[in-house]
Every structure is written in C-alpha cells, then in structure tokens.
Symmetry: C2
Subunit: 767 residues, 2 copies
C-alpha cells in the first residue's frame, strides 16, 4: 500500500492506513466488515475511480500482503502517533496525511472525517483503545495496583498471637531454624523415621508433655498445647499428626480416661516419647459410627484379667497412627463384657510391641501402606487374638470393676458414658482445625506472594500486569484470606470456651468444636485448591509445597469425624438446644413458636431494607449480624418444622432425618458462620490500633458479604433480600477484594510464618 503509486499520487489516502492496518492485523475480515468499508469508499466522492478500486482491492481477504509491508505500515503509523495522542483511527489518519501530504490535510472535509468516524464505530473500534495500538506505555488502573499496606503487620501479628506470643516464639525458634529440616518424601520408611526424630526433638524441648500436670514433667497448660499444635503446623504436617497421635490422642486418653495410677505409670514416658503409643478406636467396619465398635474386652474375675479380642477380620482397628511401626502400647476402645453382660465401650491400655519393636503374641499388625499424604505417620491395622491384660489396665475414670467383680460407673447409661468419654477427647476437634487453618495460611501466603510478583497479560502496548491485579484472581484469594482471619478468631473463642467449660455448656462446646472442625477443614481443602490453581503450573511442583499442604490436609475432613456426619450432629444438638432455651414449652410448642416467629419476622421485614443497596448499609456490621442470625434461626426452625411434619405424617424418625440430611448440614453451617462473624466483629470492636482496626473491619466486611453472597440463593428464596441487593453485594465483594489487594501481602506477612517453614521456591524473598 505505502509503496504504491496511488499513495504517491494522492497522499490523502494515508487517511485510510490506520483503519486498514487494524483490519488486517487484528481482524478476520467478515462480510459485514467488507461491506461497511465498501460503503464508506462508495460514499466519498472525492475519491477517483482507480483510487476506489485500489482501496477495495485491500478488502479481499485472499489478497496477499507481504508481512514486511504490514510491519512498515505499523512503523509509519507509530511515528505519527508520537506526534500527538490520537484517540481514534481517523484522527491518526489525519495526522498521517498531515505528515505525508504537504498540507493536504487541510482539504479533508468535515463530512469525510465524520464518515470515517462512523465507520470506525460500526466496526466496533471504539474509544481509547486506538490510543494504545501504536504506542508503548499504555497505563491502566489495573496495572497500577501494587502492595502498599495501610497498617503495620507486626502489630497485627501481636494481636493474633495475644497471650501466647512467647510460646509461639519458642516453637517458631525450634521449627524456624534452618537445621529443622523437612523430611524427605518418596521413601515411606525413611520419611517415617525422620518424622519420628523430629517428634523426639519436640519432646526433648518439652512440647510433648506441655498439657500434662507438672508432676509428670508438663506445664499443666492445655491452652499452650493447642498453640503448639497450631504453630507446628507451619512445618511438616506428618510431624504435627504424629505429635498429635502421641501426645494428644495416646497421651490425653491416658490422662483424661485413666486415673492416678495410670498417670504415674505412663504420663512421663509418653511425654518424653519413651513409650510411643496409639489411640485404637476406629475399626474397619465402624468409622463414623464408633458406637458400633465390635472389639471385646472380657473380664475374668478369678484371674483379675481382661481379654481383648477382635471378633472378626473387619472388626480390626484401622488407620491407627503409630501402629504400623513405632507404637508399643495402645489405648484400645472395646466393649466390656462381665459375666456375659455387655457394659458398652470402655478403654484399656494394651501393649502391642516390646521395646525392640517386635509385635507381641496375639497381636497382628498390618501396615496401611502408602497414603495420599501424611506418609510420615505410620498408620496400620491391629487385630487382637485373645490378648490378656491385667485388670488395672482398664482406664477407669468413668467406669471400673469393683472388688466384687461388678461394673461400677457414675454414669448409668452405657450410651451417655461413652459420649462423656468421647467428650473429654474433644480437644482433638480443636487441635485439628487449628492445624488446618495454619496450613491454609501457608497456602495463602505462598499464593499471594507469588501472585503479587507474577505478571501475565496486560493492556495493548503496556507492561504485563501482576496476576493479583486481576479481579478474578482477587476473588479467588481475598475472600479466603478474610475467612482465614475470621476462623482464627473463632478458633480462639472455641479454645477459651473449651478451657472454661462446665458441665452445663459441655454439650454446646462439643457441638461448636464439631462444627468448627468441619467448617475449617472444608475451608482449608477449598482454599488450598484455589491456591493450587491460582499459581498454575508452579503450584503443581513439589518445590512449592502446595502439593504437600493439599495432600496432607486432605484427610482432615474425614478424621476426628467425617465432616458431613459432624455437621448433622451439630444440627441435632442445635435442635435440642433450642428446646432447652424455651424450657417452659415442649418440643412442638417450641417448633410452632419459632415457625410463627420466623413467619412474622419475614412479613415484618422492612420492604425498604430488602432492596437497600447503599454502601453504608452494605458495609454495616449490624446488617451482617442480622442477616447471619436470621439465617441461622430460620433454617433451624424450618428444619424442626420439616422433621415434625414428616414424623407426624407417619414417617419413621430415621427416615425423616435422612430426608432432611441436606437441610441439617445447612443448619450446622449457618450456626458456625454466625459464630465466626460474631467473633470477627467483636475482635474489630476491641482493637485499639486504628490502622489494624480498619483493615480487620474490611476483612470482616468481606467475610460477611462473601458468605451472604454464597448463600444468596437462600436469602432470595426467603425474600430476605431482593435481586437488586444481592447483585450489589456481589459488586461490593469485588470492590472490597480490589481494595484489599494492596494489603494482601502484608496480611499474609502478619501470619508471621517462618521463611524456612514456608519452603516454597515461588514464595522466596530476596533478602
């Protein structure tokens, strides 16, 4: 085109060059586009016939243009663009005529210019875009975003750590040291040994016996035990679980279910890891339904012994940590039989290996083999073939056999006794979610740091943009970051409630622990999934640690109780709480009362509120609180109503509960979400440092709105919000995520995870 005679003869044809270049370089010429251009050419009367033919010839998609020619067009146009910021192709064409036409640009009529502009619009070549096709340095709002925190991460760390700061520092000093190496994966046997060695170091540092009484080498500090679990979880998770098996499950079962004699005999040796042990509850045939355990413990009064036996092959203990290789003893859950009468599940200390590691007579152990993760923990199956233990090996805090060989217990019912015993072990359901949350924090730190640096795509003629500047990417990572903060405070609350529990609120706290365990571990699984995808191929490489974080925590949703089962338990507890709250009424009255109340508040809902979408309202803590509370209450009373209706209609309770299964899980979730929000808001309100308070407020708002958005189907169904409001909420979630982008890296810095624990290449900082 540019070398042609036509152009030489009539430089006004330069007017078309930017348009033609754009069509050739970026478009596949469609018949519409060709037609549009032909019309333009037809309409310009000042074009000579041969010029028209010449211009039309370039509209033939089969015309061969030398790529080199196209590049020459580009450089000529780019030169012209330097002369002024032209915001459309026509103006740029005019500039070219000015440069090449020796004053001919003066001849271009306004009509010509308008016709070209119209054509541009018809072709969809709109607005500023053109400004950037031919020049470098295209700056955009998206491109400008960067890490610029508005608060001091150290102050936020201090807030997160609270009274536990010293202990956290102690633990971080141990695991944060370069010498504290991650175990090698690949060879399971080697990995297990390395993990054992790490646990021995921790025991030596006194961390294993931390919760035990001082006379057995401990600090009598249960709060500290949870802090330790949480902090250790920034490092290898096999180590954490092995630690939990030894000191939490095996140790605590002896501590809580045994009495003085057991404490004296075992606690010190457990705390120092002299006696590695197991917690042998789960059986192959009874995982979630532990009440149905089949292992028997038969009492022989004459010999003062108890015989432990596995009645059939699928009644073996399974997935038992420390069983496959290291365990020497086990707390075994078995049905106690005295004189042919079954006294329900009780617990017994049973030796399984000698100090040389040889399996004892009557005990058969099989390795559970390779797992998806946590391969540093040696899980196994155990069968007992008439293994005889002395009577005193029965852990007799809640039940015992008296001198006469009779069963005695302060808790008459087998059922109640069993659940009381399990209740004392609820600490596992606090340690696990706190560990899970640490893993999620590690994943978020790795993913957010990488996304802050990693650049991909960008505006035409501009630099590539950090991927954390993309709204989609912010949506993936920032609501989980906000939720992680909320869960941190909720788990602190759970811990305090647990430490200060009384007989009265024990059941409520058990439900809270079960619910938060389920909610947090599901959150961790989902968050690490987002982190993996958000960092793409890098997230698939072992060197970036996300694979191990994912695979190690994958089973958290199952152990210490399958999440779906737990959430249904939580719901059942809520239903009965309900009943107790209104203790003047019977069950159905309560249900009816609440059903009515729900209806009233529904009809009473202010028609202005359901459509209210101003920012102030959307960001208001009170609005969030009401929305969460309303959901919790409404969903609970509707579950009650539904069960009532089904049962009254003649359905079996078991069937009715099954039919309502999905509903019940949502009852549990709504309850937990309300708790998390409440704790989050309370934390904001009690924070003094303004910048920290501000950032926490924004996180709490994001958590609240993101959660409402996720449940928007429900809110809309209920008429609690209208579409105009849920749409505004979605926009606000995007907006808050966008605003938090500048604080995101600092918010992960505030987790204060030791650099060598993070252990991800992509998260490394040049120091």
């Amino acid at each position: 085109m540019i070398d042609s005679e036509q152009l030489e003869a009539n430089p006004k044809l330069y007017l078309f060059l930017p348009l033609y270049y754009t069509l050739w370089a970026d478009f596949i010429l469609t018949s519409t586009e060709i037609k549009t251009m032909e019309e333009l050419i037809g309409e310009l009367e000042w074009l000579k016939e041969e010029e028209k033919q010449y211009l039309k010839s370039y509209l033939d998609p089969n015309k061969k243009i030398n790529p080199k020619e196209l590049k020459k067009w580009e450089s000529i146009i780019s030169e012209a663009q330097k002369e002024g910021q032209h915001k459309n192709l026509t103006s740029l064409g005019k500039e070219l005529v000015k440069i090449h036409g020796n004053g001919q640009s003066e001849d271009l009529s306004e009509d010509t210019i308008n016709k070209l502009r119209e054509t541009e619009a018809k072709l969809g070549l709109v607005h500023n875009e053109v400004n950037y096709i031919f020049q470098q340095g295209h700056r955009t709002i998206t491109g400008e975003q960067k890490a610029e925190p508005l608060f001091d991460p150290k102050k936020l760390t201090a807030l997160l750590d609270g009274s536990q700061a010293d202990l956290i520092k102690k633990v971080k000093d141990i695991i944060g040291d370069e010498s504290f190496k991650y175990p090698d994966t690949g060879d399971v046997a080697r990995q297990r040994e390395q993990v054992l060695q790490l646990c021995k170091i921790l025991a030596k540092e006194g961390l294993g016996s931390w919760a035990f009484p001082k006379e057995y080498g401990g600090k009598d500090d249960m709060r500290g035990y949870f802090t330790i679990m949480e902090t250790l979880s920034y490092h290898d998770l096999s180590m954490v679980i092995k630690f939990g098996v030894q000191f939490g499950l095996w140790g605590m079962s002896v501590f809580f279910l045994g009495t003085e004699k057991h404490h004296q005999k075992y606690l010190k040796a457990i705390g120092t890891l002299q006696i590695p042990g197991c917690f042998a509850m789960t059986e192959t045939n009874h995982g979630s339904n532990v009440k149905g355990l089949e292992t028997t413990a038969t009492y022989n009064h004459q010999k003062q012994t108890i015989t432990i036996n596995t009645p059939h092959i699928l009644a073996c203990k399974e997935y038992i940590g420390n069983a496959a290789v290291h365990g020497q003893m086990a707390t075994v859950f078995a049905k106690l039989i005295i004189d042919g009468t079954d006294y329900g599940v009780n617990t017994f200390v049973v030796p399984i290996r000698n100090e040389k590691g040889e399996t004892l007579e009557g005990v058969t152990i099989e390795d559970n083999g390779k797992k998806m993760g946590l391969n540093g923990v040696d899980n196994g199956k155990i069968w007992f073939n008439q293994v005889v233990i002395p009577k005193e090996n029965m852990l007799d805090k809640y039940a015992s056999i008296n001198e006469k060989g009779e069963f005695e217990s302060p808790i008459t019912s087998d059922n109640k006794r069993f659940f009381t015993m399990l209740g004392t072990l609820v600490g596992g359901r606090i340690g696990i979610p706190r560990s899970a949350l640490s893993a999620a924090k590690s994943g978020l730190t790795i993913a957010i740091r990488h996304s802050d640096k990693r650049r991909q795509f960008g505006p035409k003629g501009g630099e590539e943009v950090p991927i954390l500047n993309y709204r989609m990417h912010q949506r993936r990572l920032l609501p989980p970051l906000a939720t992680a903060y909320g869960l941190h405070f909720a788990l602190q609350y759970l811990t305090e409630r647990f430490l200060n529990r009384s007989k009265e609120d024990a059941q409520e706290i058990e439900a809270l622990a079960a619910g938060l365990k389920a909610y947090t571990t599901w959150f961790t699984t989902a968050t690490l999934q987002e982190c993996r995808e958000a960092v793409g191929g890098k997230g698939y490489l072992a060197e970036n640690r996300i694979p191990d974080l994912k695979n190690d925590t994958e089973i958290y949703t199952t152990f210490e109780g399958d999440n779906t089962v737990l959430m249904q338990l939580v719901a059942k507890n809520r239903l009965s709480e309900f009943r107790q709250e209104f203790n003047e009424m019977d069950f159905f009255t309560v249900v009816n009362y609440l059903a009515d109340r729900a209806k009233t508040s529904l009809t009473e809902k202010n028609p202005i509120i359901v459509r209210k979408t101003d920012d102030e309202h959307l960001l208001d803590f009170e609005f969030h609180k009401s929305a969460f509370e309303y959901r919790e209450e409404a969903i609970l009373s509707s579950a009650a109503q539904r069960l009532k209706k089904l049962i009254e209609g003649g359905m079996d309770t078991f069937d009715a509960t099954n039919v309502s299964g999905h509903h019940l899980v949502n009852v549990g979730k709504a309850y937990i979400e309300r708790i998390v929000l409440e704790q989050f808001q309370q934390q904001v309100e009690t924070t003094d440092d303004e910048p920290v308070k501000n950032i926490l407020r924004k996180l709490a708002q994001l958590f609240a709105l993101f959660t409402i958005e996720r449940n928007r189907g429900w809110y809309l169904e209920q008429g609690y919000m209208e579409g105009v409001k849920t749409k505004s909420i979605r926009k606000m979630v995007n907006q808050l995520s966008w605003e938090l982008r500048q604080d995101a890296v600092a918010l992960t810095d505030a987790f204060d995870i030791p650099e060598n624990c993070l252990a991800a290449e992509i998260a490394k900082r040049v120091s």
Copy 2:
C-alpha cells in the same frame, strides 16, 4: 427400682418403667424434664405419698443407679414389647402392669393413661420411635434401598461406545490385561522408565501413529486418536500424558505445522517412539500469555541456518514433558527474526539430545523435579544458548523463508498466524477433557461401588444401612454421575464438530473446545474431591487409587490453558459471535437489541410459570431447555451491556474487561451448560431401547435441575423463578438422586472400565 418393695407392693408403678428407662438411658435430665415428671406424679391422685417420694427419688440426676439394674429394666421392658407392638411408652407401661400386676391393669383409669401420654409428648418422646427402642429388626424405607437396575448396562455401554466399540475393545484388551501393570510410585526415576516402557508397548500396538497418514504407519483416523486417549485414561494417567506429549503434542505439531519434508523425515519415527520428543511452547515467564514468548529464532541467510536462543534465565521453556530425561528433539516456539525484524512466533524442530541421551551442546536442561502427580512424565526446563539448526527445520506450513531470505506467509498478521497455528493444535483441548472424564468415571465407579456395600449407622434396633442410602451421600455422588453422562455426549459432539470443521466454524469450535476443556476438568477435580470424601479414610489410601486419580488430574485445570483464562476467552468469542449473528447491525446496536430483548422476555415471563412447581413441569425437557437458553442469552447480553457502559463511561477496555472478569467466566459456563444439556437431551430423544432411554432421561433431568439449583441465586435475582420454585427444584434433585440410587452401580458398570484398571481394593468384586 424393679427390686424395690414399692413395686412389689404396687405393681401399677410398672407403668412408669418405660418412661424412666428412656429418661435414664438416653437423656441428660434437664430441669424441664424433671419438672414435667414431677407435675405428672403430683397429678396422679391414686399414688400414695411414699410412692410419690419413691418415684421422685429417681428424678434426682445425682442418684446412683447400678448400670446392671438399668440393663435389667431394659430386658424386662423388651419382654413386654414382644407381647405386642406398642407404639408409645405408656402403652408399653400398661403391658408391664398387665404382666406383673395380676389384673391390676384393669384399674388404670383413662385419665391416668391420658396424663402419661401428655407427659410423653411434652418430653418429646414421639410416635413410632418407641416401637424400636426395645426391639430388634427395625425396618425403614432408608434401609430397604439397594442396587436393582432397571436397564441393561451392556446396552448402555454399546450406546456410549457407538462406532468406536471395536477400537475401544482393542485398547481395553491391551490395558485391561493383568500383565499391563501400573507403574510403581515413590521412586520418580523408576516410575518414568516404567511409563516409557508402557508407551512403547502402545506404540508397538500401533496406537501412537493412529492419527497419522497411512504412508507413515498410521490409520489416518483422528477420531480414533481421541478414543484411544479416552480409553487409555482408565489406566495410569502419567502414561496417558506421556502418550499425549509424544504422539499428540510432538507428533501433531510436526504433522500440522510442518510440511511433506518434515512428515517424511519424522512422522514414522515419532509414531513408533523411536524419536521421543517435546512440545516446547510454555516459558517460565509466559504460561497463559503465550503470545508473549521471548525465545528467539534468528535467521542467517548466508549460512541458511536459524539460531535458537533463550534471551534470559526466566525465558526458558518450562514444564516441558519428555524434556527432563527422554526427549531427543523438540518443537520449539520462538520469535523468528529476519534482518532485525520480528515476524512473531513460529515453530522449529530442534534436536536436544543424541541417541545416547546426552544433552547437546548449547542446550541446558533442568529437571522440574517431583510434582503433585503425573510423576511418570519427565517435565523439565530447557535453555538454548545460540543453538544452530538448518533452515529446513522450520515447520513451514503457515510461514516460511523464501529463497531470497524473505519471510512469506499466507497469513499476513503475526497475531492471526500465531492463533491459526495454535488453532490447529486445538485437539489437545479435546483429548484432555476426554481423559479427565475417564478419570472422573473411574472415581465415581470406585466411590459408588464402595458406598453400595459400606454400611454405617442405622435405625435404633435395626441393621446398619449402606451409606449410598443416605440422601446426603446420594447428593454427593449422583448429580456428578448424571453430569458425567452429559459431558460424555457433549465431548462426543465436540469431537464430531472438530473432525468436520470448516474455516467458517473454526473459531466457534475452538471456543467450544476451550470451554468444554475448562468445564470438564473443573468437574473432574470437584468430582474426585467428592469421591475422596465420600469414601472416607479408604479414599486416602493409595491402594484405593483415588489419591492418584486426584493428584494426576489436578493439573488438568491448568495445562492446555488455565481454566479461568480459557473461560474468559470463550466469553469474548461468544460476544463476537453475537456480533456476527446480527450482521446487519454494529456492535452497540446488537448489544442494545439484546438488552431490550432480555428485558422484554423478562417482563413477558408468565407469572404462572415462575411459580410453577408440579412434577411434570419440573421434569419437562422444554422447561430445562428454556431455562438454560435464557440464562446463556441474558448473561451474555448483560456482559455486553456492562462492558459497553464501562467503556462509554471512559474506562479503558483492559480495565473494563478486568472489572467484568467474573461475569465473563459465567458467560462461558452458561454457554457450555447449554451445550451439554442440548446434547444430553438429543441423546435421550434418539435412543431406542426403552429402559436405556428412561434412565438417560432421568439422568438428563437430574443434570438439568442440579445445574439450575446451583445457579438458583441467578435465576432468583432475575425473577425467572420464585423461591417456591427453586425450593421444589431442590426437592426434585433429592428425589431424582433417591430414585437413581438403585441404578447407580449399574450406571458405573456401563462405563465398562476394565477391573484391573480400576485397581482399587474397595471396588473389587468377588467373582
């Protein structure tokens, strides 16, 4: 209680025994309960004062009852229950008085009985439940469900396999044979060698060159190539990806981007795996944004050579399959430079190792090391330091250097040429989702078989129930099973469209492939996650294969294009499709037209339909189709409107696209969901065998309603449905899942996955 004098003296007190037993055995006595009982006792005038005191003494929660005594109560009550099916505790108490009271039951007044019944109700001890506390054999609807297929799985298999049945059988014969072993995991080097050996067997069987022309040892059958990828994916996925790298990426790049001379030189050796090779496109700094690749290929006309060079350390090729160990050559994507002019990205065959496996001069290779999965594939990084190759190594189907040393191409624009080249490789985006779907099918087969057998929990006094009988569990597994069927048909459709593509519909098919790749791989990730959790601890053990399925497919959402990026590309394509469809109008006119149309159809929505909830309507294909189409169209036009509004408001296009990122992803999803539904329904309509047709119809209904339920927030926001309708849809999803439970195992049988490929202990069948 039962040994006491009081009872001897007044056997009418037996009336209270069932109530007291229930309170003691199952309840923690609350103050309400105590009060309720005390009131009852107070009201019964025939009780003597000492009897009242005696009864009240059992309401003291601190009273010690011997557990043995409680068991005795139980056996006495159970005996009474045998005498007749008593549906409440009062009636049972009456029976006890009859047995123990020598005719005293006659003395119990109607008033007494009524008062007891009221108390029972107040305590929430309702209905039939009582019937089962004291007896065995409690049967429930939940317990009765079992596998009883209504169709012949073999007929469904035949339908799924269609014209490819023979080839599928051939591939299954190879991989289904006991001798075709899974590689050992753990040792990466060993695993890689074993996978290479498996690929050699496949090459020997002629599967590698299947798509190549006959003259190079192939079958000229691209359809068959996809069938092979899909069927192989029932076995080890490292093998599948290595197969895909060698024959799909390396082989097809030479086939599609090269010309006769390259085909003659390489194709046969590639198809037989004589020359293991790589597809070296992705660079560390440019993953998704491939257009930004930095590797250079500089032409030297004098020497007739091209020099390949990596300009800086982060411009290396990364994640390249076959690179770390086995690859001898690579198709390298690099910017061609001639005389200082950059002609965009072109492709070149570059030798990287000699036959002995030694890396060639100028080439540096680093192992990508251990990955989350697919460790049988040797991914690595490659740097080129001025590596010289002959000019003829340029793959010159779309661009070449002529005799004069000038660049020539039928496609003038670098941009268009690059995307045309990538377009020819779109087959990868068909092979990958088909492979992903096979993995999901394996996971579903394992999880559903296990859930059909595994029993956990049950009604009081009844057997434990298979976990697949629980509604929550059905909800987890059956909608994904239905979706898997839908995706099967959609991927068949995509394959046919691809095989019959023309220049006109090439872009549409590229978008379809990108969208189905993203949708299917996300589906697989989510489904395998459900499968893992659904089978609990068993799903965590390597022996049950779910861990490998999960970890191997985890990267599918990233490779062949990050899913989020792909979905946005799909959306952009849909927006422009839009424009072409209405080719009389310009872009804005189209947008306005559609916005108006959307508004109209919204207001025109029949107010009866938005609240219609009868079964016939909910299950109606037409309803589903309209709902999906409406969503697709409305979401697309609202995205267009939004972009328009933002850009017209002065926002940069790049920023506007960023702001709309989330919206655009939903545009892509809605489009794909409509396609899947359409293909699913069409399959139902063209199926002859009645039972198969019926089961497919039910699956299509479940897929449709489950998808609508997932998007219910959107439908409610739009006013397309009201809450009463979305609630009914949720119930119908539960109902369909419940109904399909009996067919679930057979529906996985119909996938016809060879038993030794499944390779999961928990899925084993006793033959």
